[in-house]
Amino acid sequence: MKNKISKILFVSLVVAFILIVLGCAADLTNANKPGALLWGENCGRCHNVRPPSSLTDSEWDVAVLHMRTRANLTETEAEKIVVFLKAAN
């Protein structure tokens, strides 16, 4: 039992390490991506993408806040996505 847990922790640590190395090497970090790209990358992972026209500006504010908490989006991601959705609806 304990063994299994430590194995998993170990694997997680290794993965985290790889991530950091990979992450540092990549040139387009999330912070530099435009809203439309962030929307495309983040909003179709769990369910079909809801088109911008499906909600009003004020509704998008609430829905994106909801998704920010559910999908663990960063502040920058959420802000850029909401700006994109409001411009495109």
Binding site: M1, L19, V49, T56, T74
Partner: protein, 387 residues
């Protein structure tokens, strides 16, 4: 009936307040989903079933959100209402969002992300995730506090969630359901059901309220979004599950979950590929007493593959989605609820729009009994709509 009237009044006043508040800082959204199923099983009469899950969201500003979902169902001729979740969330800073209330269990991505009928690609839930389909190994919801967020690491991201909650309870007495909520029949609706198991001892009840002991469960998940299309995660929950002041009071449980999700548009395949998988193992201490004197270890897992030929010219084919899922549950032989099961389900969906879908699924489940195995087939039609 009365409840339904109250609901209608509630929704109307919500919509009114929504339009009045349109220009104010406080904002709200009435959303949710509904579905109708037709289920045909080999030995039982065919049944129509329905579900209606309104979701109410209020945000006071960009940092404070109240999220709530009610679940309406018809059971034995009466409407049953359950608070699926009701949580106040506060975004404290870039690395911490706090939540308090009843929330979807963050250690289990099926429950947190994939269970709503318009999101779940098959009309029923994988084994081990609902008390209605036999043994439940993982909580669908928690009552307590959580902290969560996502931390960018270059072009990748680490997401985490940690919670303390009432946690699960060990069922020790036959016919006694610790929380007074019974596990019902097979319930393949794709909603989260928490309940005990009447007449079966050994499994856990995940009903959350009231807590049977003063210890709180601790759980969480860490996920790695290696690139936007791929996320892998590890979730856990550790809890004392025995009831205070009983001979079982020291019994603890430990839950591990690993999950994978991969969604990618693949132009060469002219469509979108969606892979979801979750593996759970649950260890409950052996109290060494009476009918619970056995190694109480169980596992359940599922893997699902879906393909939608998005990029094909024909608008009919574009909206079709093909799904196949394998799921399995293995329970301790000595337990009363000990039927190991495995199932293969294939489905074809037709998407009327991004969140309205007609699903056809055929499942074949094999149950292992002491005197051999038996298999049963089910056909489910569902129409589901997220709004």
């Amino acid at each position: 009936m009365k409840k339904v009237k109250i609901l209608i009044a509630f929704i109307l006043s919500f919509m009114l307040s929504q339009s009045l508040m349109a220009q104010k800082e406080q904002k709200s959204l009435l959303t949710g989903y509904g579905f109708t199923n037709l289920e045909i099983e080999s030995d039982d009469p065919a049944q129509f079933k329905i579900g209606f899950n309104p979701i109410f969201l209020w945000s006071i500003n960009n940092n404070i959100l109240f999220e709530s979902e009610l679940e309406f169902e018809i059971e034995d001729n009466s409407t049953v209402v359950v608070i699926e979740y009701a949580q106040i969330m506060y975004i404290a800073n870039a690395y911490m969002t706090f939540g308090a209330g009843k929330f979807l269990s963050p250690n289990n991505i099926f429950s947190e992300r994939y269970h709503p009928a318009w999101i779940n690609k098959l009309p029923n839930m994988p084994l081990g995730l609902s008390a209605h389909s036999g043994a439940q190994l993982l909580a669908g919801t928690q009552v307590g506090l959580q902290v969560r967020s996502g931390i960018p690491v270059g072009s990748s991201k680490i997401v985490y969630a940690l919670y303390v909650s009432n946690g699960p309870a060990l069922i020790v007495d036959e016919d006694e359901d610790i929380h007074g909520e019974g596990g019902g029949d097979e319930d393949p609706h794709g909603e989260i059901e928490e309940g005990g198991h009447h007449g079966a001892t050994g499994p856990l009840s995940f009903s959350n309220i009231p807590d049977n002991n003063s210890d709180k469960a601790i759980g969480g998940r860490i996920g790695f979004i290696l690139f936007p299309e791929l996320e892998i995660g590890y979730g856990f929950e550790t809890a004392r599950v025995g009831t205070d002041d009983t001979e079982f009071s020291d019994v603890r449980s430990f839950n591990n979950v690993v999950d994978l999700s991969y969604v990618q548009d693949i132009k060469s395949l002219a469509g979108k590929v969606d892979v979801r998988s979750q593996f759970t193992w649950l260890n409950v201490d052996n109290p060494g007493i009476d009918h619970l004197n056995y190694e109480n270890n169980s596992t359940a897992w599922y893997a699902q593959f879906a393909y939608q030929p998005y990029y094909i010219e024909s608008s009919f084919l574009q909206n079709l989605e093909f799904v196949v899922r394998y799921d399995q549950i293995d329970l301790p032989k000595e337990a009363e609820l000990n039927t190991d099961q495995n199932r293969i389900t294939v489905g074809v969906n037709y998407w009327l729009n991004h969140s309205t879908v007609i699903k056809f699924a055929y499942g074949n489940i094999t149950s292992e009994h002491e005197d051999g195995s038996e298999s049963e087939s089910t056909l489910i039609f569902q129409i589901a709509m997220g709004f």
